[in-house]
Symmetry: C2
Subunit: 282 residues, 2 copies
């Protein structure tokens, strides 16, 4: 596995491969890899000639007071994991390599980036859209892989790719969970003592909400309120949002029909966790 | 010369050419071609294997009350001119092809797009940066050609290309002028009767300002005021802005040193014209 830290170096390596007709699968990550990331890399390995992954804790997608500084990092461990699942090229730029001092350009995706995580984290999706645009321009992948856990992020990226005519296929793969149902997240490492158990409230609530919808509930607000109530019943949890949206448009439904996204963001102590499920309503 | 109206069709034509190693020179225009545009196309013809030009009056770079609806259009004439200078591929999308109804993504270049035309035309450079990003992603040119007449636009594009790691070389070519010095512009067609003669105030003022700087004036504000006064002396002219900036950073100089951009925007009747000169101060 090759490791590059500089934009010009990775481009110099990749362009001749692309010119030779090799397809590139790309998995952008913030590192501290878990099975969720690895599932994306394995899929890229299956589908593409060359697998490129990036590890970059993107400062501009963190708000003031968020966890940019303490976001978990372990490059040595990440390097081994990426190599094990067959990543060919790892891109690990420094902050200054992607954002030099006179940096000034941002990509904004309107509408789908409003509400949900966009409301809780102003500027977050602007930061995501910007760094993904940069990484796509550097790597020029044929396919890029994102996790369904970050459902709104996936929608923002798909909208951006369509709108800006980016020549890349976006693949969104299922949430990967721990044995007890907790969605894999680099931030799970923040959970202390009893918080780990309390964090199961997201999975449990989503499962119950899916059940409620499957049993015939058609009123989005009732499902939303049900989720909010279930989270409120967990003493260690504080609801950030419970949302019921059309998938994958994120439109606010008046009645539950078609593909429905049930999404939660919950603080467990200081740790903000997100999770979601999509349910098909006939 | 091939003409494409659809994104998928031009991509389908260009990608195999690129895969075969042909270099692509790209000239994005809003049509109603004049010698300024043609000089860009001729340079692209010299430097690249395949020359692609686009004609698209980009609605999102016009503000409310600006001249989007009456912007001059003559595709038949443009087609002939482009063919004569050796354009291989002309891309002429409809508005809906680039901006479908659910369009939501915009590229913003901060700092260099503030002031000057950015102050007079809020949202203009956001529209320019967005459409150029889209066109670059569709065409994937090796080089793209812009006129120095739109000096701030050229700086915005260069900043965007650098910031977003776009794989394209930006070439900025000199202002092309009529015999009497008026900078070529599609909007010159708006000038009625005596306005055409009055429009020479831009060229004359810039030449005199260059002379003033060459004669040793080091105070940017004095040069700016000189230009404003010269424009005010023309009864048919109304100053939009007179600016003195560092080139190509657009930084506001405290003292005239290095490459200095002298830039004017002036209304002649209803018609807003821009022009500029760069002078080297030893």
């Amino acid at each position: 596995m090759l490791i590059f830290k500089k934009v010009e170096e990775i481009k110099k390596y990749l362009r001749p491969q692309q010119q030779a007709g090799k397809t590139i699968g790309f998995v952008p990550t913030m590192g501290y890899l878990h099975e969720g990331h690895l599932s994306l890399m394995r899929k890229a390995r299956e589908e593409c000639d060359l697998v490129v992954a990036s590890i970059f804790v993107n400062p501009i997608q963190f708000g003031p007071g968020e966890d940019y500084d303490r976001y978990p990092r372990d490059l040595e461990r990440d390097r081994k994991l990426a190599e094990e699942v067959g990543v060919d090229v790892l891109f690990v730029p420094e902050k200054e390599e992607l954002y030099p001092p006179d940096y000034a350009t941002y990509v904004e995706v309107e509408r789908v980036s409003e509400g949900m995580c966009g409301a809780s984290r102003p500027g977050h999706f602007r930061g995501v859209a910007t760094v993904v645009t940069k990484l796509f321009n550097i790597v020029r992948p044929d396919r890029a892989y994102f996790g369904q856990k970050d459902a709104q992020q996936a929608v923002v990226i798909m909208q951006m790719v369509r709108d800006l005519n980016m020549d890349v296929e976006i693949r969104v793969l299922p949430v990967v969970r721990e044995a007890d149902g907790l969605a894999m997240s680099s931030r799970n490492v923040y959970l202390k003592g009893e918080e780990r158990q309390a964090a199961l409230v997201l999975y449990r609530t989503l499962k119950e909400a899916v059940e409620l919808v499957r049993c015939g509930e058609k009123d989005p607000e009732k499902v939303r309120q049900f989720m909010a109530d279930r989270v409120a019943a967990e003493p260690m949890a504080r609801l950030d949002y419970a949302e019921v949206r059309q998938w994958p448009t994120l439109a606010v439904p008046t009645k539950l029909e078609g593909q429905i996204l049930l999404a939660l963001a919950v603080f467990i102590g200081q740790t903000r966790l997100i999770d979601n499920m999509v349910v098909e309503v006939p």
